[in-house]
């Protein structure tokens, strides 16, 4: 069963308990100044954002078919069967293609370190393995962030949409975006109004590069035969010309 998070913007009161719990779990500093930052960074792996009277939460979306894992040349990112997309810092060489490619602009970098690492939320992989909730879900006082099985959370989200249709924009964000994500959103207003990217395709992005990479074996095999053949013909022509004395 794949784990996921359901974030219900209509229940969020912007208390930022999730931010504090996340910082504590990663042993990162947390104070008023950091709490005021709305952006993800190497010292802030989740952030509550304010859009008028609505709140939104940023964290790694843990895509079903993650772009970061597909682009990483050394396979430092991978999607676990449990749901979280995790990062192996020992493999990472710092090309930052994951940051360039992530459709949600999630991975961040330790720019000021001499031995820098990429950082991002890992959906509390260690806690999940021990059967516990994520730190943010545990800390949330209103149930705005809920941790559970993805299928169960989707069912619950649909239930909430049906139960109080007036409270919700009638869609679940993360159900289909780039092939689906393990972080799902409910909101009172259309998702672009709480800072989410709604122009993303439904297909997983890795298929876009795979289409090009798939052609590599063909280019190599057909290319070698073709070039070898051309070489043989042109040289043979030359040899024949020489043998017949047309060219010295």
């Amino acid at each position: 069963m794949s784990k996921a998070i359901l974030y219900d913007s209509t229940l969020c009161i912007g208390c930022k308990s999730c931010e504090a719990a996340c910082a504590e779990r990663w042993h990162l500093p947390y104070n008023d100044k950091i709490a005021a930052e709305a952006r993800l960074s190497a010292h802030k792996l989740t952030a509550i954002q304010t859009f008028g009277e609505h709140y939104s939460r940023r964290l790694c979306q843990h895509c079903e078919d993650p772009t970061c894992a597909s682009v990483c040349p050394v396979g430092a990112m991978h999607k676990t069967s449990l749901g979280p997309v995790v990062y192996d810092a020992d493999k990472c060489m710092g090309c930052r293609y994951c940051m360039e490619a992530c459709p949600f602009q999630v991975p961040v970098y330790e720019w000021n370190s001499r031995l820098p690492k990429v950082r991002k939320c890992d959906l509390c992989y260690d806690r999940q393995q021990a059967g516990k909730q994520t730190a943010c879900a545990e800390a949330c006082p209103t149930g705005a962030t809920k941790c559970g099985d993805r299928d169960a959370l989707i069912a619950e989200a649909k239930q909430r949409l049906a139960a109080k249709p007036g409270n919700y924009y009638q869609r679940i964000y993360g159900l289909e975006e780039v092939g689906g994500t393990s972080v799902l959103y409910l909101s009172a207003v259309p998702f672009e109004q709480i800072g989410l990217r709604t122009y993303l395709p439904r297909q997983p992005l890795p298929t876009l590069t795979w289409r090009a990479l798939e052609a590599v074996p063909d280019v190599v095999s057909v290319g070698s035969v073709l070039l070898g053949g051309i070489w043989w013909i042109t040289n043979r022509r030359d040899e024949v010309a020489k043998a017949e004395g047309r060219k010295k």
Binding site: C72, V74, G75, T209, L227
Partner: protein
């Protein structure tokens, strides 16, 4: 940096180019120190929103493209057996080899953990375009070194290894052409993954094809460019007849490329974007204007047969190409990133330092190894006269003019 010259008895004279070179090297050395000491954050204007800057956009994307003359000429001379281009083959291979070496050098600056540059060779992820890029760079740099090795062996008078190299040369050259094809196009494929981020004037499923064709174009332009510079620096005549042949191919390729670009824009229905008054529109216009004006010039006989004009046209192609790569990697990515990126002086210093190093290394190697000598054996004297009078050896010239 340049060291004493073998035949120069007096102290090297201070020329404007030497002064510029020294300043660039000093600046780059200081920037290198800062990079090693304080990390990427201190020396770049990169951010979590904008993780790739000119070290990727110029040093890598342009560096690899500008080295494309090597594989293009290898294919023309050795595989298609058009022997008349042989005299300019070695300089092109040398440019390519230096280009790739400098790309690797640039990566040592850009990678967060340069000590792990070898990781992709061991930790595979065949789904990653960057993985393919890493393998192509490694293999092709090796191939280029082997392709250049005959010049070294000739210089040293080693006959036997020269024979061994001849034995493997054909498969090696075919491998080189295939690796280049893959590599040039895969730099375009890198950006296939960012449909929502790259501005639609540049994002197209055909990015790999466009990167490949434009790389061949700039490879040809670079060959003309460096032949011209070498002819001035080493007091030789420009191979005008050869350059003209390259220029004709270049004109046709460029025209096809530009036509295909606009066909693609039309097919995707994004041509109306050109009416919008935004930075992207203007920089797209600059890119197209440079390439289109070069195309128009190169179709004219009087441009192709005049070394100075031909040189000018090839410079336009090179700048147009650079504009394209920077547009894809920087301009086109800016709007969606939610931030602005202007390179820090340290980024520029490293980039310019690497370019200057490339010129200087080419000049040095061309002086010590038989890069141009094949010309005397094979070129007919008739072709020599067209380019104006060869000048005597000019020792005081450091880099180019």
């Amino acid at each position: 940096m340049t060291g004493p010259r073998p035949r120069a008895v007096q102290l090297p004279r201070l020329t404007i180019w030497r002064a510029i070179f020294a300043v660039l090297m000093l600046a780059a050395a200081y920037a290198t120190y800062l990079r090693a000491r304080y990390g990427l954050g201190a020396v770049t204007n990169l951010s979590d929103q904008f993780p790739w800057g000119i070290w990727v956009g110029f040093d890598v994307l342009c560096g690899v493209g500008l080295a494309a003359g090597g594989f293009t000429l290898v294919a023309v001379v050795h595989i298609f057996n058009v022997e008349k281009y042989k005299p300019i083959l070695r300089p092109a291979v040398l440019t390519a080899f230096l280009g790739y070496t400098l790309v690797v050098l640039a990566l040592m600056f850009d990678l967060g953990r340069p000590d792990r540059i070898w990781h992709p060779l061991v930790m595979w992820n065949p789904h990653s375009v960057m993985f393919e890029v890493a393998w192509c760079v490694t293999l092709y740099t090796t191939v280029l070194a082997l392709e250049f090795l005959p010049a070294v062996f000739e210089r040293l008078g080693w006959k036997k290894p020269l024979g061994w190299l001849k034995f493997v040369s054909v498969p090696l050259m075919i491998l080189g052409v295939i690796l280049s094809t893959l590599h040039q196009s895969s730099l375009g494929s890198l950006y296939l993954i960012v449909p929502g981020k790259l501005y639609p004037l540049w994002y197209t499923p055909f990015l790999p094809v466009f990167f490949f064709v434009s790389a061949i174009c700039v490879g040809l332009a670079m060959t003309i460019f460096e032949s011209w510079h070498s002819s001035r620096a080493f007091g030789r005549a420009l191979e005008v007849r050869l350059a003209n042949g390259l220029a004709r191919v270049l004109a046709v390729l460029l025209a096809t490329y530009l036509f295909a670009r606009f066909l693609d824009l039309d097919q995707r229905g994004v041509l109306p974007l050109l009416r919008e008054n935004r930075t992207e529109t203007w920089l797209f216009g600059l890119e197209i204007a440079l390439l289109a004006s070069a195309t128009v010039l190169l179709f004219q006989r009087r441009v192709r047969w005049n070394p100075a004009r031909l040189y000018g046209a090839s410079v336009l192609v090179i700048f147009g190409f650079i504009a394209n790569r920077l547009n894809v990697s920087v301009t086109g990515m800016e709007a969606s990133s939610g931030t602005y990126y202007i390179p820090k002086w340290t980024e520029v210093a490293v980039t310019l330092g690497i370019v200057a190093l490339g010129f200087a290394l080419f000049r040095l190697i061309a002086q010590y190894f038989p890069i141009f000598e094949e010309q005397h054996a094979e070129e007919s004297p008739a072709a020599q006269t067209a380019a104006g009078t060869p000048r005597p050896e000019e020792e005081h010239l450091l880099v180019t003019d």
